[in-house]
């Protein structure tokens, strides 16, 4: 139940097997080809328009999963840059006897250079092997997405889908906790959940009622931050649905404005 893209962000082997964007094994052997790892029905079809050879079909509705025609695909890689979900890769099994080329979008700095040896990572970001950068492409038609190609040992070709960023902030050990900060529901008036609950115990049954008793929502943000939390506490404590709790009465000004500007100017009227 915890496998698959919905749970991990990584398509499971089964999801990939059934995907209509994955080329056949025979086609893979012939040379560079798009591998579309798009397994969720989302409203999106730029890949269809991006392909200059009509190899990707989505049709109507645009939530259809892309279908790849491996014979039409030339492995040009345009779709790799144009997929907003970055779910398309290029795999070139014909690269050499021992290595396969993998191309993927890489929108981080610094960009690698051809010839660099980098850490090749799998779909979970784990380093699986070294890869040699064979191409770094970013023509204007890619719209600011850099596509990097690396060559990796053949046995890792099915796993490698990106490379590790070249510069990373170092992870630190967690510091010790020295103090406990407040837990505030209303940030402006500095009220806790207990303050809200007490108001309900005292008879408040609406957001306005709580506002009058506690000032929750009366601060400078005018309830923009706490109102929904107050509604939820009310709903939990009274057992009534959230729909019952209307926001506090809205009055001008709905944004902080300097009252002197509004006041001074009203006299003319």
């Amino acid at each position: 139940m915890t496998e698959g893209v919905r749970f991990t962000g990584i398509p499971s082997a089964e999801e990939l097997r059934g995907a209509s964007g994955i080329p056949s094994q025979e086609r893979m052997k012939k040379g560079p080809v798009a591998v579309i790892e798009c397994v969720q029905e989302i409203p999106c079809n730029p890949c269809e328009n991006a392909c200059p050879f009509g190899a990707i079909k989505i049709g109507d509705p645009i939530t259809n999963l892309p279908v790849l025609d491996g014979e039409k695909c030339t492995g040009c890689g345009t779709c790799v840059a144009m997929c907003p979900g970055q779910a398309i890769f290029l795999v070139n099994e014909a690269y050499s006897e021992t290595e396969t080329e993998i191309s993927f979008p890489f929108e981080y700095l610094p960009q690698p250079e051809t010839g660099d040896v980098v850490d090749a990572v799998n779909r979970a970001g784990e380093v699986v092997c070294k890869g040699t950068v064979t191409k770094v492409k970013m023509p204007p038609s890619y719209k600011n997405t850099c596509v990097v190609t690396i060559a990796v040992p053949k046995q890792y070709a099915g796993e490698v889908r990106s490379m590790k960023r070249l510069v990373l902030a170092e992870s630190l050990p967690a510091p010790e906790k020295r103090s406990t900060a407040s837990q505030l529901v209303c940030r402006c008036e500095e009220l806790t959940r207990e303050d809200i609950e007490r108001a309900i115990d005292e008879g408040a049954t609406t957001i306005d009622g709580i506002k009058r008793r506690t000032r929750a929502g009366m601060g400078l943000c005018q309830g923009k931050t706490c109102e929904r939390l107050v509604a939820r506490i009310l709903s939990e404590k009274t057992g009534r649905p959230l729909a019952d709790f209307l926001p506090a009465t809205k009055r001008a000004p709905v944004r902080p404005v300097q009252m002197s500007i509004v006041a001074d100017n009203c006299e003319e009227n």
């Binding site: 929108e107 981080y108 700095l109 960009q111 600011n144 997405t145 850099c146 902030a169 900060a181 407040s182 940030r187 402006c188 008036e189 500095e190 601060g219 400078l220 943000c221 923009k224 931050t225 944004r255 902080p256 300097q258 002197s260």
Partner: protein, 112 residues
Amino acid sequence: MEELRVPHHPVLGDAPEKRQVTIYYQGQPVPAKEGEPIAAALLAAGIRAFRKTVHRHEPRGVFCSIGRCTDCMMIVNGLPNVRTCVTPVEDGMRLEPQDGFGHRELTGGEEE
């Protein structure tokens, strides 16, 4: 201190050139880029606590960044309750962290 400005970006490219100005946080000069919000300049300088609250005197900083929550208020050129996330820097601007409601300087304020 770690570099917090983002001069280069893989998608957005290099940050547009902007004139450097100086603002003063508790009297100390802080470099800022013309036109950027006060809050951005302070965060870039590693300053994160902008004020102390009225009742609990707890620190607050940037929270919503679009002028909704008012957590990032400071005393700016003598005027309290200024939302620093939506107020652009000006050369020579004086910033004081606001403690509680803050107070308005009777002289030297920007207004009138």
